[in-house]
């Protein structure tokens, strides 16, 4: 088998297309599914965070306002300070410790932009606003000295901390800053706060949700009096679950893809296989076994048409081949018979001394057989040349009436000796474009045929007239007619309706086949009607020559007519 590029294979191309479509469909579906599930989970987490933040905000509202105020000059500057220190003490170094703050200290100051109390109507949901800048999670914060008593009172209700004990701790945590930046409160279990809480946060964070790099989901909320509430919750388990869900999606997508591709491969094979079977059968059909056919029963509907067309083609081929081989065998049969006559007669004559009369008789028989062979060979050659389009035709403007008249005159003695009345009615002149010798042969074949099949006392009539831009030649006899079952075969080579009669009168079965060939060379048509036991009528139509046609000189001078009709030339069917 020769190597062919895979893209030349319809099967491979089909598979590639199939794979692309499958990947797109599965990928799209999985993506949508993943997005949906992820956002559902996130919304659940966010809802908890929101609830916790609202709870804390409500708690803060319940606190005395001074608790929420910061010391005005102690505005922290977070930049450049070590995290640990900031976590441990949000105030700048060197600032005097101010814990616990004096309860009455409450300097009135304008609320800062970033920490407006926007009230419960603000929009905290800004999901998907990205994770926080990636930074390595810091070491767990060192224990801080316990806060003041108010701070200890702030906490999350049990309903929001209901994480079961198993697995990693994923309880929510929170941090609340005052507007000045100092930490007001944190969740009770400080260890659950994943990253260092800085006092710089108020300057850089808008209310809303965010992700921390360690896998925590956090939410900022501006509380009363510029306090900033951060509620967070480690979501590692959810993230892990989502990750494994994604992997499962990928795995099942690949599995579906594999199953789909395998199915497609099999189906495409089942499409290809009948084609291969058809090709195999077709390649096995050769000249020696043309009768084979493609079996259509097991073939898919779409291919049955192809198989049927091929089968029909094989049938036509077979018929043509059979016709050809029958013609060959008929031709050889027709040649062998006179050959056998010559051979046997000569052999018999030579087998012992004979009288002069016997020799003469033998030679006459041989001569007759030889002439028959010559006629046959001539007929076969004419047909072969006509088939090959190499017939030597000298087209010119011919008066068909004169050609026919000469043929009729040639056959008149024969008709008289057979006591057949031969009448002709020719309308002249009737110019057609053609070869006079070939046209004479057509007329001669038809006429000799008519005489051959007409019994004594019958009549044969020839008529010629113009009819609808054509010359119409009719040869009609009152002979034995052609049996109905044979009427389709009349123009077949070597077909003879009445073989014994035809042979006895010198026919070789080629006459009408030659007529048809010659008429077709002249772009005319030949047809017949025949009633058994009543007679036969042949009609030849030849296109009329237009008045301005060339070569007027050739009108009416047919140069080489076939052999005179004293002996019918025996081509008749």
């Amino acid at each position: 088998m020769a190597f062919t590029a895979p893209t030349k294979s319809i099967r491979v191309r089909l598979q590639i297309w199939y794979a692309i479509v499958l990947v797109a469909v599965i990928g799209g579906f999985a993506g949508v599914l993943y997005y949906q599930v992820t956002s559902d989970r996130l919304r659940a987490i966010d809802a908890r965070l929101e609830a916790a933040a609202s709870y804390l905000e409500a708690t803060l509202r319940g606190l005395p306002p001074h608790e929420l105020e910061d010391m005005p000059p102690r505005r922290p500057r977070g930049r450049g300070r070590p995290e640990m220190e900031r976590f441990g003490d949000p105030r700048p170094p060197g600032a005097e410790p101010r814990e616990p703050r004096p309860p009455g200290f409450e300097p009135p100051r304008p609320e800062r932009d970033g920490f407006d109390d926007r009230g419960p109507g603000r929009e905290p949901r800004q999901r998907g606003d990205g994770l926080s800048p990636v930074r390595p999670p810091g070491p767990p914060p060192p224990d801080r000295p316990p806060g003041d008593r108010q701070r200890a009172a702030i906490g999350l209700p049990a309903s929001l901390v209901d994480q079961p004990g198993d697995g990693p701790r994923e309880e929510p945590y929170f941090v609340i800053w005052r507007s000045g930046g100092s930490v007001l409160a944190t969740s009770a279990d400080r260890g659950s706060i994943p990253t260092p809480i800085t006092s710089t946060l108020p300057s850089g964070h808008r209310p809303g949700f965010r992700w921390r790099a360690g896998g925590e989901r956090e939410m900022f909320l501006v509380g009363p009096r510029g306090t900033l509430i951060l509620v967070g919750k480690p979501a590692r388990r959810e993230l892990a679950e989502l990750g494994s869900f994604a992997w499962r999606l990928v795995a099942s997508g690949i599995a579906v893809l594999a199953v789909g591709l395998a199915g497609g491969w099999l189906i495409s094979r089942s499409i290809i296989r009948p084609i291969a079977a058809i090709a195999r059968t077709a390649s096995e059909i050769s000249a020696s076994n043309l009768s084979r056919r493609i079996e259509t029963a097991p073939i898919d509907q779409e291919l049955v048409g192809l198989a049927t067309i091929l089968n029909e083609m094989f049938a036509r081929l077979e018929a043509a081949f059979e016709r050809q081989s029958r013609f060959t065998s008929d031709a050889s049969h027709e040649m062998r018979t006179p050959l056998a006559v010559i051979h046997s007669h000569a052999e018999l004559a030579l087998s012992r001394p004979r009288s002069a009369d016997e020799y003469r008789e033998t030679l006459a028989t041989c001569l007759g057989a030889a002439s028959r062979m010559a006629t046959l060979v001539d007929g076969l050659l004419t047909l072969a040349r006509a088939d090959a389009g190499r017939l030597d035709v000298r087209f010119g403007k011919v008066d068909l009436a004169r050609v026919v008249q000469e043929v009729v005159d040639q056959y008149r003695p024969l008709a008289e000796s057979a006591r057949i009345s031969l009448s002709s009615k020719l309308e002249e002149p009737l110019p057609v474009k053609g070869d006079p010798a070939l046209l004479a042969r057509v007329s001669s074949n038809l006429l000799s045929n008519a005489l051959r099949y007409t019994s004594e006392g019958g009549r044969v009539s020839v008529s010629l007239r113009a009819d609808a831009q054509a010359a119409l030649l009719i040869v009609e006899d009152s002979g034995c007619g052609i049996p109905l079952e044979d009427q389709g075969k009349v123009f077949e080579r070597f077909f003879r309706a009445d073989k014994a009669r035809s042979r006895a009168r010198g026919g070789n079965g080629l006459g009408l086949a030659i007529c048809k060939s010659l008429v077709e060379v002249h772009k005319g048509s030949i047809d017949f009607t025949s009633v058994p036991e009543c007679g036969t009528r042949f009609e030849v139509r030849l296109p009329l020559a237009s008045t301005g046609d060339d070569d007027r000189s050739s009108i009416g001078e047919p140069k080489s007519l076939p052999a005179p009709a004293t002996v019918p030339n025996g081509e008749g069917g």
């Binding site: 056998a340 046997s344 052999e347 018999l348 028989t365």
Partner: protein, 218 residues
Amino acid sequence: MRVLVVEDEPELLQVITRALREQGYAVDGAPDGEEGLFRATSWDYDAVVLDLMLPKIDGWQLLETIRKQKKTPVLILTARDAVTDRVRGLDGGADDYLVKPFELAELFARLRALIRRAAGQAASTIRIGAVEIDPRSRTVTQHGKPVALTAREYALVELLALHQGEVVTRTQMYDHLFDENDDTLSNLLDVHVSNVRRKLGKDFIVTRRGMGYAIERS
């Protein structure tokens, strides 16, 4: 020996008939299948020469019909030379197949072989006592010396020799020795028999009263 030739080509029928008669056969000719069938089923021919392409009833059909009734050896003589035709002919019951154009000598040889085999003889010469019959040259020798017999006398000796030990009835003898062209006078057979007896010895042919003639097995 009587042979039927079924051949639609008149000139060929004529030459085969004539040649076979010159060989001493009684020959009937039939120009088409219908007449061929009628003749072939009406008489016991020693052999039939059959063309295949025949008017009215073709050779295949003729052969099939003959085979239903007779064991007559049939030689197909045809222009159809395809192997499939030969196979079909031989399988259809023909005993031999010869393609036109043919040598008359080969046709004669094949007919002799067919007739000999049909009579159960394998050897090409028949020996009866001191008499030896050679169908190839159609000669008879006695003690190594040739005996001059007419064609009809030879045919009579050959017929009886092929069926040696059996009684051949007068009717059978007429059927096999004379064709329809012969004037079969009632005593013609007796004349031939007495001529043969004169040439080959009185006891060569035995008369079975009321039954026919025979040559005793040697």
